[in-house]
Amino acid sequence: MRMLLLWLLPLFLAIPLVSGCQREKAGITVAGSTSVEPFAGLLAEEYMSRHPHSHIYVQGGGSTAGIEAVRTHAANIGTSSRSLLPDEKDLYAITVAKDAIAIIVNPKNAIRDLSLDQVRQVFSGKIKNWGGLGAPPHPIVLVSREEGSGTRESFQKFVMGQEEISLESLVQDSNGAIRQVVSNDPHAIGYISLGLVNEQVKALKIAGVEPTLANIEGNKYTLVRPFLFVFNGEPAGEAKSFLEFVLSRPAQELLSREGLVTVLKPSGR
């Protein structure tokens, strides 16, 4: 008798399996870049508090994976921290914010300013010691994102150009983790989303230009990448509603508070 019950239980589980087999989830899935993910999550929280019956599932997976997910309808909205590639141009992308890449060092590090060239030489391994940059000599500890990360690709594009990031660099799988390492190691240097810079790390000036919102908008600080929402076709339904919210003033102000650059023109224009 008891055995019978024990075996009936998996069968009971099969019922939701069959009934839910189409994976109808109320709500929408927003998947893609892990750089966008925390901000998308905050926006989703805000949106869901205003629209109590909606569900927005935010996931990571990477810019490329997110774009793929939208293409196969596995996700309603794909997020990306890089521009679309030529063979992705058939999808509909809209910039919801702009994010700068900040080169960060430990607050104890004396260096405040580097040229783009110097950054490239450091990350490619040509300059291996802080002594080569005018600071007290000590081997440089490089920290980078993992292969496939949108942030790494943007860094590669803006800073490295044709050169490879040194194979000796430490690799961490999120912006937050890079920030952790740099904040704990006085000799580390890394790159993260400007929106994640806090008092634990110091963002370097690049060729004298500080990564501030003013300099980004004025096109003086050029390590800037778009945060995209990618759709398969015209946005519709809940996805459209979420998009409209994200582009609205309150949402953009939230993003701005978090350190991103808004896409809203200041009111009046």
Binding site: M3, R23, G41, E45, Q59
Partner: protein, 279 residues
Amino acid sequence: MVYRTRYITQGIAKVLIWIAALSTIGVMILILFQVLAEGLPVLHLRFFLDPPKSMGREGGILPTIIGTFALTVVAILFATPLGVGTAIFLREYTRESRISRLIRFGTDCLAGVPSIIFGLFGFVFFVIFLNMGWSILSGGLTVAAMILPTIISTAEEAIKGIPPSYREVSYSLGGTRWQTVTHTILPSALPGICTGILLSVGRSIGETAAVILTAGSSLLMPTSLFSPIRTMSVHFYILAREGISIEMAYGTGAALILLVLLVNTVANWLLNRYIRRRA
């Protein structure tokens, strides 16, 4: 002269062993202590009952608790019948033969597969091939595969420990094999089986690599078995890695340790009761 050296050697060995053992245990306790010390202050009722806010910077960890619970339940529900059934088969329905050796080999091998491989498998099989997506179900089934060997071996041990006289009495009273199993073997083996289940629960709670790849990392309250969820250990990992909030990380860690402590204590208590019954 030789007589004395032996005792000197023993003395030295004793000292070294004491130092080694005590310092080892000391360090391990220290590890637990650090997390608990920093984390316990964070644990208040709202921590357990509130959902997280600001992507985990504030609020509580309710969805992760529910997610952990749901995933574990799914895993146990699938693994227990399969595991106990296997043990019954091995112990009651066959002798040592090619089939039984093959099954044991499979079970032993399965026990050694690392969790990341289970994660890859679960991702490719449950999430993609069976189209279950990142969900409690995908995660639970993957973990079920991981705990299956444990349930099989503890169930087998439990059944092995039953005196043959129990079976003989049952058969002599005219019971069939199946009746013997259900009315005699299983009830007696139940405490041992439960211990195995509890051990597996502990393992399932702490499992991270496989769960991240199969259950996702959504912080929303799950609405069905197909919802993606973040378990407590995954939440702890993400908080700790991304430095989102060290305080919350410690809190989640402390909650994890307490949970594992609870499960283990109950398992031990059950085991002791079981042993006392047998003896």
